[in-house]
Symmetry: C2
Subunit: 303 residues, 2 copies
């Protein structure tokens, strides 16, 4: 199986790097860091064991890449307008494209661009960041849930999960909507609140007022998911997410890093779309709607 | 009539100063600025005409003040624990104490300390700030609504309103709860959001997302007021408040100044109490509850 990684940042670098390190055939598309990685390779500093890829297959143009069986899209979702150009050269009729991106509604938008394409969602529960060109720092966790959106070949999705497991990554297949909304339960409180309050996960959970607010926002997400037909996420999942977060290294989620580095924030898929989907299904995410407004304001005043 | 001003900041300095300038018998209690005002008097820079009081009656200890007919409490409400000591020396059986402070629930707390005391609320619609010791800068507006809480002598409350008018201040008597909640309609969105988003009134209203959020928070306040029995504030009042704010000088509300100068914020009476009162009456102010949590977090990390 040939893997293509579109966007070799923290997520693409880690998951693609782990597969390559396990001997899979992985091809990385890079942009700004291309020459650096050609010269120096890719370094994964990981809590589960660090490693270095001396000569990964890297490209600065997807038209130079081979046709792939599986493509990981690891761009920031604010750049998904580039997808048509980037993946057209590397897909064929059977390619599975996995959007390892956060949020709700991504696959339906991409499906409109590529009506026949096999799509899946990849939801990564991981703390990692690209700290310098060609260097990924993986702090903790690392599991990935795969939700099949439109791939008729279930065995291809299962092969992906098996390859992940071979590479030492905890991976599991999950109903598509459940996979996306479960991740949203963590994302919706922590990404926005760390930006709005200029803080990190640990400080939010040490203060009783914001600890309660985190839980309220998780419960709004769970109610939104229910309205959208995902019935099997309940309050105990919020408790588990909070407990996991209490026990992990103090963390700045990707939206906080984007804000700090004056990059556009992924407000559309992380907030606007889930809020809209829930509203269409009859549930108003009131507090999350307020957080969205705060983020839109901060995004606009952060350029 | 003898007036006593407890707390000669922006509000006490402006309203007490206007009365003194109009020839009323006004006695000012000061703390840090006492000696400065003894030496230099009190300067009111006002959009309606500036003036200087060369030798106002000033005190650094309320035990040296005369008994007063009317007392204005213009402290920050976080210091209301000092009230018992401060006003006991200057009140008699007929004194009217007017709490010119923002928020909900102030009079009922003070009444518990002084069960027989005549209390009223003063709600100031004014943009002003004490910029230096002894100097008040009054940018715009300046009207005050008086709501009688427990004064059996209605004529005393009317005399106060007449004295304000004599001094060129637009003043009117209003049902107590209506007076407090109307001011809350402005306070609850603008005080908290300018802190949470580190901004000013004008920028909040220029961004469509936060403009809508301001309106949502005003409507939550209006619904809370309704639940608490105040029926005659409706959406048109929110529109009027927004319109007034669009046309006024870009403004940092008092809570924003408190935050910027690392002083404790008046979260209890501006947020916690109205949210509690509305909840007791059956209405959940969900977005304002979220804003309260953000403010509690920011307050605790601002010392």
């Amino acid at each position: 199986m040939i893997y293509g990684i579109i966007g070799t940042g923290a997520i693409g670098g880690y998951y693609g790097g782990k597969l390559a390190h396990a001997g899979k055939d992985v091809h990385f598309l890079l942009h700004k860091d291309y020459q650096h990685v050609v010269d120096n390779g890719l370094q994964i500093n990981s809590c589960n064991g660090s490693f270095h890829l001396d000569h990964p297959f890297v490209y600065n143009d997807s038209r130079k890449m081979p046709k792939c069986d599986i493509v990981f899209v690891c761009l920031k979702s604010v750049n998904n307008n580039l997808l048509k150009e980037l993946i057209t050269p590397i897909i064929n009729n059977n390619t599975l494209v996995v959007l390892i991106q956060n949020g709700i509604g991504l696959e339906s938008d991409v499906q409109q661009i590529f009506p026949g394409l096999s799509l899946a969602a990849g939801l990564a529960f991981i703390c990692c960041a690209k700290t310098e060109p060609g260097i990924v720092n993986h702090q903790c966790y690392g599991s990935i849930n795969i939700g099949n959106y439109s791939c008729p070949d279930e065995s291809l999705v299962r092969s992906l999960t098996e390859d992940f497991k071979d590479a030492g990554i905890e991976a599991c297949n999950m109903e598509y909507n459940e996979a996306r909304w479960k991740k949203a339960v963590w994302n919706m409180p922590f990404n926005g609140l760390t930006v709005a309050l200029n803080t990190q996960t640990d400080l939010l959970l040490k203060n009783p007022a914001t600890m309660q607010l985190v839980r309220d926002l998780m419960m709004e997400t769970i109610e939104g998911a229910k309205a959208c037909g995902v019935q099997n996420i309940d309050a105990s999942f919020a408790d588990k997410m909070i407990d996991n977060t209490i026990h992990m290294t103090p963390y700045s989620p990707s939206m906080k890093l984007d804000y700090d580095f004056h990059r556009p924030m992924e407000i559309h898929y992380l907030y606007t779309r889930p809020i809209e989907e829930a509203a269409k299904a009859g549930y108003q995410m009131k507090k999350l709607k307020m957080l969205e407004a705060e983020l839109i304001y901060l995004n606009q005043n952060n350029r």
